[in-house]
């Protein structure tokens, strides 16, 4: 047996001591393993093994065979210059030589090395050094995309659409392209100015006196002078046109290349063989070549700049990711890159720090600012057992939490992925554009040909010059870009803006549906209300002290598991009462509970229980009935055989539900409440929040049917509910909006996910959708008008009546700025702010509620 090594492996799926024994046995049976010990609590295996006879891979295999998995991290390294099969073996050899590397896979096609490794033993940095020492350069972004995840997820996430990496690469590329276009523009404009001056010798003092012969020589020189404009500044029009042509398609490049090319060739011919043309008409327009290329390139420069801004939202989201995490490993706190945090790691967070990944608080408490994810401005209190979301900021206290989701599974990663997907999706409104876009460019070419023929045959003299100028102008003014960009640009900005406000829109279709809604159906429990009962009213009998009543009742209920009992206990704690343990606790089924507290006999229960006890209730019975009318659950309390009062418990309305519903109604939407609760409770809540139409006593399975009935009334209906119980209704509705629970953002049935529980999200969702669709319509309208008006004018339709003809120079300017306008208009959406401001305090809502 060779040299033996100590190894620590994180294990996934240990739930019992017996599991640990099973793994120990499986490992112990392997030849080459001297000792194997598994700690079920830390979920780690400690193995003393001989790497020669029992390599790590064999250990992992036997652990898997025993029904468990090994927590491994995976890193993608993007490597430059990976071309040959021999590179693969070289790199694999270098990386595998490191301790802690479980497997490597080199992909030539992606120029990428994927390594599974144990983070406890080797850091991604060391992996990089290994690759580099083998003679290859690792691209920076590759390491940035490193993602740690339990091995079990690997198959599913073999190569998902990369988020940050792609976005970074896209930004870098955009920057390169920007600089490239800018220098192209500079060259074109420096040449275009003198060329334009020389093109009109008749108007320039000093050139006027020159002979025709000299002017012709100057023109010949300008023909050469504009060549750099064509071959450098405008080269991408020609190459683009050529590649498109080979694909039997045509785009903006085709139009510009044809227009500019035709102008240059015509001009060269006019200068070289003027005798082909009628006397005195052989004038070149090299100025068109220079100016049009310069303007269109300028347009592209500006468009690129504006486009960079439109993806700001997604960049902002990605920038939220924490870079490091403080993790407890082997009992000590260590700072590790966030990629190396594993599921079930204990993470420590201090005040002011960013929470690195998603998890559940395991100790300590604090308030956390979740506004970056949920859009909710008020910090949220976190105690043991509460979920925390990665990228949110810890405000006041320190706490530890157990990581539940890391890498690509975190809420933030899901949000980024969902937003990116939505930004790239299509709104139905674009279908028309798609049809048009398919025919647009060839159609423009046909119009240019027709215009040329008509002007040549029927136009004024010199007809060939007119015909050419008109054809060139038509080609140049047509702008498929404005049309094509109209919808996607607005969609991108709008969806991004919504995400900033904690609203995830699944795709363009959902967005378009949301702006055309007629009715919003709100589930009562958990949507309008908090979804859990709380103590709302305390009515005392005679001079019985209120504090005693609450304390005694809550102390009795301490021993009860019932949710209503829990509400009373929590309510008493909130009021600052110290509770004691009850003696002789007994539940009286269907009636209530009885116990001894502080030596006093206390009973709590319904009216039937009071009748059975034979207690005189006086006007308490009436008060209880009033509370019941308000949708509350009243309970009578008896102390030492005499009535002490009534305590009422109810599911309370979320503080901003009323304001949100009012706003929805102001926006012209019919708001309807749906619930499985009885009519009395439902109507009480409906009254409180100002809803007049209530669908009560609806069984969960019938909710979808109710939505269908509303749709049959001819309404476009949105359903707002939780993503699990209400899934069929969400799917049936035109727009399903799921109220999220923070970390579970990718709710399948929903078109729109509201990350916060607040109904204000519904308002914002509708407002964002409306603003975005309005923006899209403006863009489309502008682009359609521009093209349908611009092309006929360029073709000379105004000439017979007004004698007006468009200069190709103006056409070039118009074309360049039409697409810039579309992008700029879309960017205006970034300024969108929902009109409803956050409700400041609970009391405001109550006041409004009382006014009804």
């Amino acid at each position: 047996m060779g040299e033996s090594r100590e190894l620590e492996l994180p294990i996934i799926g240990i739930h019992c001591d017996e599991c640990a024994t099973r793994i120990e046995r499986a490992l112990g049976e392997l030849p080459g393993v001297a000792k194997a010990r598994v700690n079920a609590v830390s979920e780690r295996a400690f193995v003393t093994h001989d790497p020669e006879t029992a390599p790590v891979a064999t250990l992992v295999e036997s652990i898997r065979a025993a029904g468990f998995d090994v927590g491994l991290a995976r890193v993608h390294l993007s490597v430059e210059g990976l071309h040959c099969a021999s590179c693969v073996t070289k790199i694999e050899g270098a990386v595998r030589a490191l301790p802690g590397v479980q497997s490597t896979e080199v992909s030539l096609a992606n120029e990428e090395v994927v390594v599974d490794y144990r983070p406890a033993q080797v850091a991604p940095g060391e992996l990089r050094i290994a690759v580099e020492s083998a003679g290859y350069r690792v691209r920076e972004s590759g390491a940035g995309a490193a993602a740690a995840m339990p091995h079990e997820h690997h198959a599913a996430t073999a190569k998902p659409v990369e988020g940050e990496e792609t976005e970074d690469a896209a930004a870098r590329e955009r920057d390169r392209e920007y600089r490239r276009l800018r220098s192209k523009f500079l060259v074109a404009s420096v040449i275009a100015v003198p060329v334009t001056v020389l093109s009109y010798p008749g108007y320039v003092p000093g050139l006027k006196s020159l002979s025709d012969e000299t002017i012709r020589i100057i023109w010949a020189l300008t023909a050469v002078a504009v060549l750099p404009v064509l071959l450098y500044s405008g080269s991408h029009f020609f190459t683009g046109a050529w590649f498109a042509f080979r694909h039997r398609s045509a785009d903006m490049n085709t139009l510009i290349a044809l227009g500019v090319g035709a102008a240059w060739i015509y001009s060269v011919v006019a200068v070289a063989v003027p005798q082909l043309f009628p006397e005195g008409t052989a004038e070149p327009f090299f100025d068109v070549v220079g100016v049009v290329v310069a303007l269109v390139v300028l347009g592209q420069v500006l468009e690129l700049r504006a486009k960079g801004r439109s993806s700001e939202a997604i960049k902002k989201l990605m920038g939220l990711q924490a870079k490091t995490a403080r993790v407890i490993r082997d009992g000590t706190e260590v700072d590790v890159p966030v990629e190396e945090v594993l599921v079930d790691d204990l993470v420590v967070v201090r005040p002011g720090e960013k929470i690195p990944v998603d998890g559940v608080v395991a100790g300590g408490h604090s308030s956390v600012d979740e506004s970056m994810i949920t859009g909710e401005p008020i910090p949220v209190e976190k105690v043991e057992g509460d979920q925390v979301i990665g990228a949110t900021i810890n405000k006041t206290g320190s706490f530890r939490f157990r990581a539940t989701k890391v890498g690509k599974d975190t809420a933030l990663a899901q949000i980024v992925r969902m937003v990116q997907e939505a930004q790239g999706s299509k709104a139905p409104i674009q279908r028309l554009v798609d049809v048009v876009a398919g025919y647009f460019v060839p159609a423009v070419m046909l119009i240019a040909i027709a215009a040329f023929v008509v002007w040549f045959v029927a136009g004024p003299d010199p007809s060939i010059t007119y015909a050419l100028v008109v054809a060139v102008t038509v080609l140049i003014i047509a702008c498929p870009c404005a049309l094509g960009l109209a919808t996607p640009m607005s969609l991108m900005v709008g969806v991004g803006k919504a995400a900033e406000k904690g609203i995830l829109i699944r795709n363009g279709e959902a967005l378009q549906q949301a702006q055309g809604l007629d009715a919003v159906v709100l589930d009562k429990t958990g949507t309008i209300t908090l979804g859990k009962p709380s103590l709302t009213d305390v009515v005392t009998w005679g001079d019985f002290p209120e504090a005693d009543l609450v304390r005694l009742a809550a102390s009795v209920e301490r021993s009860s598991e019932h949710p209503l009992a829990q509400a009373i206990v929590e309510g008493a704690r909130d009021r600052g009462h110290e509770l004691v343990d009850p003696d002789e606790f007994e539940a009286v089924p269907g009636h209530g509970v009885t116990a001894r507290v502080e030596g006093r006999s206390v009973q709590l229960g319904n009216l039937a229980y009071m009748r059975q006890l034979g207690v005189a209730l006086g006007n308490l019975e009436e008060r209880a009935s009033t509370l019941a009318d308000q949708g509350k659950t009243p309970m009578f309390a008896v102390v030492d055989g005499r009535a002490a009062g009534v305590i009422a418990v109810a599911d309370t309305v979320k503080e901003d539900s009323r304001v949100a519903i009012k706003r929805l109604q102001e926006m012209g939407l019919e708001v309807i409440m749906i619930t499985g609760d009885n009519r009395r409770t439902a109507e009480a809540i409906a009254r409180e929040v100002g809803i007049s139409r209530v669908l009560a006593e609806v069984l969960p399975k019938d909710k979808a049917h109710q939505i269908h009935l509303l749709q049959a009334e001819g309404k476009k209906v949105a359903m707002v509910g939780d993503g699990i119980n209400d899934a069929p209704a969400l799917a049936q509705a035109d727009v399903g909006m799921a109220i999220g629970t923070g970390t579970d953002v990718a709710i399948e049935a929903s078109d729109i996910t509201l990350i916060t529980g607040s109904l204000r999200g519904v308002v914002t969702a509708v407002e964002v959708s409306r603003a975005t669709m309005r923006n899209i319509k403006q863009n489309l309208f502008g682009a359609f008008i521009y093209n349908t008006a611009g092309i006929p004018v360029a073709a000379g339709i105004l000439y017979p009546v007004f004698g007006a003809l468009l200069s190709p120079l103006i056409a070039g300017a118009a074309m360049a700025f039409s697409s810039v306008t579309v992008v700029t208009n879309a960017n205006r959406l970034r300024l969108f702010e929902p009109r409803m401001v956050a409700t400041p305090a609970v009391t405001d809502v109550r006041v409004e509620g009382a006014a009804v």
Binding site: A109, N110, E111, K159, P160, V161, E162, T166, E167, A169, A170, R172, E173, R174, R176, E177, R180, H236, T239, G240, A241, W242, F243, A244, R246, H247, R248, S249, A250, D251, M252, N253, E303, K307, Q420, E421, Q423, G424, S425, V433, D434, A437, G438, Y439, V441, P442, M445, L446, I449, A450, F452, V453, F456, V457, P480, C481, L483, G484, L485, P488
Partner: protein, 124 residues
């Protein structure tokens, strides 16, 4: 009407027919995606269009299309598969895979953001 006019009219009509035929009426054949380990995989080069622009895949089996964009024109910056709700940014010179499983037989389009570049995905 002079002879030149007639020639120009005839030339214009001819050119028009050529444009219509070349861009609208003719089309190229499809390329089948190779199947490796049950994954139907194909590389699509993005340069003035998609090569290949007609892709034939089988239903119910995962598809991975590796897009390799070799140009900088911002038009082709994104590729969309609207019927599958998939889209991706394509940085120049990077291979970006798009994965999905077609569940329905039929012909589906894919395209750049603006609809200038188009391809067809035929699911059999």
């Amino acid at each position: 009407m002079s002879l030149t006019d007639v020639v120009v009219i005839a030339g214009g009509l001819g050119l028009g027919v050529l444009v219509v035929w070349y861009f609208w009426l003719s089309s190229s054949g499809g390329v089948k995606a190779a199947s490796v380990d049950g994954m139907q995989e194909l590389t699509v080069v993005v340069k003035g269009g998609y090569t290949p622009d007609t892709i034939v895949v089988k239903r119910g089996r995962p598809v991975r299309l590796n897009f390799n964009r070799q140009e900088s024109a911002s038009c082709s910056e994104m590729v969309l598969f609207p019927d599958f709700d998939r889209s991706a940014k394509l940085p120049e010179g990077t291979v970006v895979p798009i994965e999905f499983t077609p569940e329905k037989v039929g012909e589906f389009g894919f395209q750049c953001q603006m609809g200038m570049f188009r391809g067809r995905l035929i699911v059999e």
